[in-house]
C-alpha cells in the first residue's frame, strides 16, 4: 500500500466511532437501554447517571434539542488543541458544565476544558475530527 493510500485509510477511520443517528436527551432518558449504533457497527451506551445529570442542567423544553452524544469537534485549522461545540442546547450544557458565562452561538473550548468536559461526561461526549 502506498503512503497516500495509508493516509487516506487512516483518515477514513478517524470518525468511525461516531453514531449513525444521534439520540435526543428525551429519547435517551425514556429508553431502557440508552445507546447509539456507531458507523463501524459498534454500540455506544450512555450512562444513566450522566443522562440524569444533563437533564438537571436543561429545562424540560430543551430535552428534545440536545442531541447525544455531544460532539467535540477537533479542527486543525482552529489551532492545535482547540475544539468546537455546535448546537444551541449542546453549547448551553457545555457552558454550564465548564462554568462559563452564557452566550449564544458556537463555543470554542481548549485542551484543559476538553479534559474537564470528558471527565464529567465520558459517555455522552465524543470526539469528531473535521478538516
Amino acid at each position: 500500500m502506498s503512503a497516500d493510500r495509508i493516509i487516506k485509510f487512516e483518515l477514513s477511520k478517524l470518525n468511525v466511532h461516531l453514531p449513525v443517528r444521534r439520540l435526543s436527551l428525551r429519547e435517551a432518558l425514556s429508553s431502557p437501554k440508552p445507546q447509539v449504533v456507531a458507523r463501524d457497527g459498534s454500540v455506544h451506551t450512555f450512562k444513566r447517571e450522566e443522562l440524569e445529570f444533563l437533564a438537571g442542567l436543561l429545562p424540560e423544553a430543551d430535552r428534545d434539542k440536545l442531541q447525544l452524544p455531544i460532539l467535540i469537534a477537533l479542527e486543525p485549522k482552529l489551532g492545535r488543541g482547540t475544539a468546537r461545540i455546535s448546537g444551541e442546547a449542546e453549547v448551553k450544557v457545555v457552558r454550564q458544565v465548564l462554568k462559563k458565562k452564557p452566550a449564544a452561538g458556537e463555543l470554542l473550548i481548549y485542551r484543559p476544558e476538553v479534559a474537564i468536559l470528558r471527565r464529567k461526561l465520558p459517555t455522552t461526549t465524543q470526539y469528531l475530527f473535521s478538516w
Binding site: A3, D4, I7, K8, E10, L11, K13, L14, V16, H17, A38, D40, S42, V43, H44, T45, L74, E75, P76, R80, G81, R111, V114, A115, R118, R119, T123, Q126, Y127, F129, W131
Partner: protein, 212 residues
C-alpha cells in the same frame, strides 16, 4: 532525498506532489489532534486508576484485618470449611465502550455485597465476624473489578497512542520532508529549464539579428 522518490521534473509531477503534500499535511494535523485527544483520555484513566488502586488497597487491608479476626474467633479450619460452602457466582455485564474507535471494556456489576442468607453458608453455625469479613471482601471485590476495567482501558489506550505516535512521526520526519524535498527539486529543475530556454531564445534571436 529527491532521488529516493524518483520523480521526473515535470509540471504534472509538480501538481501531483503538491496534492500529496497537502494530503500528508492534513493527515499529520488530524493524527496529531487524535494523539492529543488520546493523551487526555490516557491521563484521565491513569488518574482514575490511582484513585481506584488506593481505594482497593485500603479496602483489602480492612478485609484482611476482618479475616484475621475471623480466624482468631472462629478458627482457621472452620473458616476455610465455611468458605468452601459459600456461593461463588457474581452477575456482571461486560460490554465495550468506544473511545475514538478504541474498544475499551465496560463492566457493569450489580450488587456485589450480598445478604447473609444469600452467601450460601449456614448462619446458625457461624459467627458474625465471618459475616463481617465476607462483607469487607465483597466490597473489595467490587473495587477490584473497577480497577481491572480501568487497567484494560489504559492498556488499550496506550497501544493506540503508540501506534498513532509512530504514524505522526513517520509523516512529520520522513514522508513530509521527502515530499517537500522532491517538490523543491522539481521547482528548481523547472526554473533551471526555464532559464536555459530563455538563454537559448536570446541566443537564437542574436543569431538571427546577426544574419540580417
Amino acid at each position: 532525498m529527491a532521488t529516493a522518490l524518483a520523480v521526473s521534473p515535470t509540471r504534472m509531477e509538480l501538481l501531483k506532489l503538491r496534492q500529496r503534500v497537502g494530503l500528508a499535511q492534513k493527515g499529520h494535523d488530524l493524527l496529531k489532534e487524535k494523539m492529543d485527544a488520546l493523551v487526555i483520555e490516557f491521563f484521565e484513566v491513569l488518574r482514575r486508576i490511582q484513585e481506584a488502586r488506593t481505594k482497593a488497597l485500603e479496602q483489602l487491608s480492612v478485609a484482611h484485618r476482618a479475616l484475621s479476626m475471623c480466624f482468631a474467633v472462629v478458627g482457621t479450619l472452620e473458616t476455610k470449611q465455611v468458605c468452601r460452602e459459600a456461593k461463588r457466582e457474581l452477575q456482571m455485564e461486560i460490554s465495550t465502550r468506544h473511545i475514538m474507535g478504541i474498544a475499551v471494556p465496560a463492566v457493569e456489576v450489580g450488587e456485589v455485597e450480598r445478604n447473609v442468607l444469600a452467601r450460601g453458608y449456614s448462619i446458625h453455625t457461624t459467627s458474625s465476624v465471618l459475616d463481617e469479613a465476607s462483607r469487607e471482601f465483597e466490597r473489595a471485590l467490587k473495587l477490584l473489578i473497577e480497577l481491572s476495567e480501568l487497567n484494560s482501558s489504559a492498556f488499550a489506550l496506550a497501544r493506540e497512542l503508540e501506534k498513532t505516535k509512530r504514524r505522526v512521526n513517520a509523516l512529520e520526519y520522513i514522508l513530509i520532508p521527502r515530499l517537500k524535498e522532491a517538490l523543491k527539486f522539481i521547482m528548481m529543475r523547472l526554473d533551471e529549464m526555464e532559464r536555459e530556454n530563455f538563454t537559448r531564445l536570446k541566443r537564437i534571436k542574436a543569431m538571427l539579428e546577426e544574419r540580417e
